[in-house]
Amino acid sequence: MKNEPKKGRQFLDWQRLFFFVTALMFTAFPTVLFSNFLWRLGIEQGIVPLTILFAILNWNISWGATHSLIGFFYRRRRAKEINETPVDPDNPGSVAIVLPVYNEDPKRVFAGLRTMYESLKQTGRGEVFDFFILSDSTKPERWLEEEQSWASLCRDLDAFGRIHYRRRTVNTDKKAGNLLEFCESWGSRYRYMVTLDADSVMTGDTLVALYDRMEADPRIGLLQTAPKIVYSESFWGRLQQFSNHFYGPVFIAGLNFWQGGQGNYWGHNAIIRLGPFIDHCALPDLPGREPFGGKILSHDFVEAALMQRAGYEVRLAEDLEGTYEECPQDMIEHAKRDRRWCQGNMQHFWLLFSRGLTFASRLHLGNGIMGYASSLLWAIFLILSGILIYNRVRSQLSLLPTSGVGDIFQIPLAEHGALIGGVTFSLLFLPKVLALLDAFLTKGRTRLFGGGIQCTVSVLLEIITSAAVAPVMMLYHGQFVVFTALGKGVGWSTQNRLAGDGLRLYDAFKSHRTHALVGLIATLLARQVSDTYLYWTLPVSGAMMVSPFVSWIVSKPSIGRALGRMKILSTPVEIDTSAELEAVPVLQERFTQSNWIFDDEKPIPGVMNAVVDPYLNAIRVSLAGAAATQQNTEANNKILTERLLKQGNGALRSNEEKQVLSDVEMLTQLHAEVWTMDPEDLHSSWKPLFDRYRWSS
């Protein structure tokens, strides 16, 4: 078979072996130092669990540090030429670009879509690509706007038959189910599928490059790009954006060094070979019930693992630019997103030991779990070490002159402790330092971040802010892990990526009051242990105490803008922006103007909008006619129509509104009646809808 994948390389070749041995050495050295330090202190009780905890946590830090260290050197080598010659030029494949949406702002979604469509057109290769908006939106206000935006976009670009729109009335299995339904309905028409998020933007050149690489190598089942964060306004958003742009490439180079063709999938901004995806990547239900079992919430990691299990490669195209996404603009929104991701990652526990997965897949799944579980382990480690030190101080025993690893370095006990702290912090900050060094050693890279001084200041600012935020994130993540384990699930919500005016101080206090209280209690307890211990733990407990203020400050777009003016936390996309990134806000503004009947400030119920507006009504009637609708009885229709006209806003329940919106006859009749009835006979809530239509020059 021509397109069957060849057998992948053995997992533990020299590159990977070298990588893991380096990470292990980074873990082993501080762990031995730490264990010996406890022993020298005379702490015998609890030394084993504490050492194990320290080793696990240090492995997590070392893992990141090794990525950056190897990545730093890996980036110094000359880039390999990538073969983009199609294997079978006489049989070109086609691509479906799928955009799942769930109540996101249609103006932004369609601005991004239009940008990508036009960018593809400019490459001269656009004929290979079709777009699909896969809507799972549940709010009529949202999906009616989607329908109008889609129709006007297709009209303006003459893209009917190239840009498709499909809305599900029942959101079975959330996003994974949305994609599955697409694959089952249209998947076999296309050779590839590019998955996007509602906030994704990809340039035409990048999309074409992804396609060419897939055509050139039939072994690749999934090719993931490394999306860059864009459009951040708040201090928090800009911090995330800077970290992603500045530290990301070095880390990702290290990731690619060991994973090769056994990479991971991050759910969007990636291209997938549809044949094997349909055959092998349907998601099984997990044992038990939600949130820990049941339907798989985070489908991406699992799909990558299943793709590899089928013998295909999953690769990361680290060299491709022109792939973008957005991020939450404050800590609370960030935590909300983490809550969902945490639950999804915890579910992956079931798959860790399943047969047939590659070791790399298990590693990706394990790292995903540890990304959240490590916070809980840190909390346990801090509590446990506090108790043991408290016992040690309370015993009032003098230290015995015990020897140990410290003897090799000829260092007293205090320096021994400082050495452990030094090594751990060095590993923690190594990725940041290496990224800074990489920027100075790569020609022209510092200029892209505002200059050498600005780069350095940005890194320092990011380190300080991360240190202030990390303890709060630890509490958040620890809490999420416990909640998931206790069976407290999380709903499916729309991600808010807008900064607005930032958080109000009251809201920040409300959200972080528990963290501040925990910080206060921890400080008081640490003071009970000893003054020295208090000073050691104050950075953690103190950060918790001031978390409401920190959260409030970092949410502010005004601070973000001020930093931007000074070129602090600047990124290449701000200094050397691409045409596509400039186009999106312009198009979004244009959609805002043309979609003025969907006013976000004074929202109007979707059903009323669809009844009054002649064009929206016509679009909905056409789409309702195309879909199979339930046949309502005439008497029931009459009751609903009467109620809506006479009682106006709030007269219908949600399911009744959907009933009206899916019934051609009712919609047509309502539109005719609402305009011809005597205004006196209509409910007063209809009046503002008519008042909107005025002549303007």
């Binding site: 349907a282 820990f292 030991f353 399943s354 239509y693 005025r694």
Partner: protein, 190 residues
């Protein structure tokens, strides 16, 4: 005599006709008629027709005017769609959708409610009277392949099942963990 002349200022129904004027104007604004002169002409034409019917019907000017507006628009849609060779079903909605897809407000405002014959290009652009949301289905089935979760997951699964069968056991496990943690702290601080 022009029926509009019946609507005299200071007459009893003048305010009602003002309301009718506003309502008809708003309907055409909702159809994105932006040319001021055209808008005035269309509204005047509709009010003129409504004024002819005012006495025998007993309906308010506002209702009469909108009935006339709808009638005029529907008749025009029927003529245009017939000239464009479009089979007619939901003529009002079809016509409005055709206007939208033809981008009438930007490209063909002068043709709106204008009696025929119409330019061929306009008729061609009015042929789009329905929306096709996707290509033909090419159905495939995505069926999960069997996945052996291994011994650890099997044990965990069985534990869940037991807890599901006897919720008391689940509660006992959770409380044991709580008490265990409390006990451990007490033991370490003893």
């Amino acid at each position: 005599m022009d029926p509009l002349e019946k609507i005299a200022p200071r007459s009893e129904g003048f305010i009602d006709w003002g309301d009718a004027y506003q309502r008809v104007e708003r309907y055409f604004c909702a159809l994105h008629i932006q040319d001021r002169l055209l808008l005035s002409q269309l509204v005047a034409k509709i009010l003129s027709r409504a004024a002819e019917r005012v006495e025998p019907s007993g309906k308010s000017p506002s209702v009469l005017a909108m009935e006339e507006a709808k009638k005029v628009v529907r008749t025009w849609f029927a003529e245009v769609l017939e000239a464009a060779g479009v089979p007619q079903k939901e003529i009002g909605a079809q016509g409005r959708l055709a206007l939208f897809l033809a981008d009438m407000p930007t490209r063909w405002q002068g043709e709106f409610l204008h009696p025929g014959p119409w330019p061929q290009e306009f008729l061609d652009s009015m042929k789009n009277t329905f929306l096709r949301t996707g290509p033909d289905f090419s159905e495939a089935r995505m069926i999960p392949r069997k996945i052996d979760l291994g011994p650890v997951s099997a044990v965990a699964d069985e534990t869940w099942r037991v807890i599901d069968r006897w919720p008391f056991v689940g509660a006992l496990v959770v409380w044991t963990i709580y008490i265990g943690i409390f006990g451990l702290v007490v033991y370490l601080l003893r």
